[in-house]
Amino acid sequence: MVVLSASLWLRSRLTDRFWRVQEVLKHARHFRGRKNRCYKLAVRSVQRAFVKSTKARREKKRFLRALWITRIEAASLEHGLKYPAFISNLIKSQVELNRKMIADLAIYEPKTFKSLAALAQRRRQEGFLAALGDGKEPEGIFSRIVHHY
């Protein structure tokens, strides 16, 4: 016989409360204090932890790039070049290594980094010479001698 709605004395009670609570507490087991044991405190901490980790994943990229730049700056100063000169001259010489690679090369392959620094230095000097031109002084205007013929 088909019954459309349940009777009033039929109650449905939550049976897996333990496992629902454990799902949250398992992410809080390494926390400090009562928030690794008590559900009410743990829920808040776990939520904040998840939100912080989401935001940190975006900031990690910025942070790592700054770290690589610091390392490249330190390594290029050892070879007598500043970071903007080094990077700009490398890019002008069509070397498309990114900062992560250059930082790794500076740590693990010092000879290769030295050759990259020499390349950048040479390109820099060629750039200066190309910009300076002949080396003659520009002719003056008031010191020009006018000939009236």
Binding site: Q47, R48, F50, V51, S53, T54, R57, S93, Q94, V95, E96, L97, N98, K100, M101, D104, L105, Y108, E109, K111, T112, S115, L116, L119, Q125, E126, F128, L129
Partner: protein, 155 residues
Amino acid sequence: VAKTSLTSPPWPDVKLPDPVEEAKYHAEVVQKVNKMIATGQYGRLFAVVHFASKQWKITGEDLIMMDNVLEAECGDRIRMEKVLLVGADDFTLIGRPLLGKDLVRVEATVIEKTESWPKINMRFWKRHNYQRKKIIVNPQTILRINTIEIFPCLS
């Protein structure tokens, strides 16, 4: 004429070496490196490869994990073509920006195709009863770099 503070410019005067002599020196160095490669006087080679929109510094027998799907079955051999830099102990070949395909050969094999650990993306605004939780599982591919070979065709 006496030298004052304005006779010469304040930047150091740099003279580039003679172009003819430089060309000779360059040709000599290139021949030397060619001979070294031909006779095989290098130890372990490392290469910088552009793969899966990232740059990797690889040697032989090392593992690489990509955070995406590669359309190759497990056990397929792959040749990586975009090589930016190859180096050994005594010489490095820097590509501007890439090295030629007839100069370097990087071989890799696909070992494993798995999924990453479940990363949790959560957004929460306080006092607004707003929270969204999403579990992201990325497919990953693991490659093993078999060999890096160089051929003596420098000019």
